[in-house]
Amino acid sequence: MPCTIEQLDAFVDVMLFGVDKPIVEEMKMRQGAARMYYAAFHTVRSAMAKKVGQPGYKISHDKLIDWLMKANSRQLRELGALMHDGRSVRHQCDYDLSASLPAHQFKVTASELRTYVVKKATTVDQWVQGETKPLPPSGL
């Protein structure tokens, strides 16, 4: 479903200021899927930061996904494919107000990112630590 700026405004009112007003389901769906993508992004980036020993390691979404998609580890390439897909949905959530994705697409994407990245943070960390392809230098 498409969404409007007024609906975004109402969402912020409810979430930040405790205003009691109805928010449309579309807002919850979009915000949920977009935030889950971010959780997945930070899960991978934390593992990369640990590998290079730089807690402040910075990397753009493009570079992170590109590194995953070209990794020698098959598991990391699978992760790259999922992150590429998740980022695409997240872009629609945040930048395309007219996008008309069915509600269950947001749920499926969020569930995939949660099941295969966020909830597997320890495993993802092991994959990243064991990867032989060098990490990109810190920087956006």
Binding site: R74, H84, S88, K107, V108, S111, Y116
Partner: protein, 162 residues
């Protein structure tokens, strides 16, 4: 396809500090179409023809706008994805989609930032089940495995519920 086919293409150039987004008519000559459609063992699909025409048009447009060094950098991802690899992978994705998501699943391809994206549209149960997540994971795993090493990073898979 008629000779000297005209295809309208939109070029987004903001990433290259050229503040324009424009729709341009691009003329493909008889020889160019023949070269794309002919000289191949298997018939070209419409999707792949569009992909190759896009690559050709972009390379031509870029060559007018940027220095040779920029053009080389930009067109490299497109030029290094041979159409037979695209066909092979698309065929694999179709097979996997039918196997795991049913025969109503449809596959299309597009070129996004130098990456060939296969989009799989399928009928999802509502509410969806863990089995669906497992199916999507299986498709992704098989897809990644089928990409030749020389083309890692150049193919992506998006799955979209109808």
């Amino acid at each position: 396809m008629p000779k000297d086919s005209v295809v309208e293409m939109q070029f987004f150039t903001s990433e290259w500090s050229v503040p324009t987004s424009e729709v341009l008519p691009v003329v493909f000559t008889d020889g160019e179409i023949d070269r794309l459609v002919g000289e191949r063992e298997r018939p070209i699909t419409l999707g792949n023809l569009q992909l190759e025409l896009s690559a050709l048009a972009m390379a031509r447009r870029w060559s007018e706008m940027f220095t040779p060094r920029s053009v080389a950098a930009v067109s490299a991802p497109v030029d290094t994805v041979p159409s037979d690899v695209v066909c092979q992978l698309e065929s694999e994705v179709k097979k996997l989609a039918a196997q795991h998501l049913g025969t109503s699943a449809a596959v299309a391809n597009s070129l996004e930032d130098g990456v060939v994206v296969f989009s799989v549209e399928y009928d999802a149960p509502e509410p969806f089940t863990d089995a669906l997540l497992e199916s999507l994971a299986s498709i992704r795993a098989a897809f990644v495995t089928s990409i030749p090493e020389a083309h890692w990073g150049k193919f992506a898979l998006h799955t979209r519920a109808r």
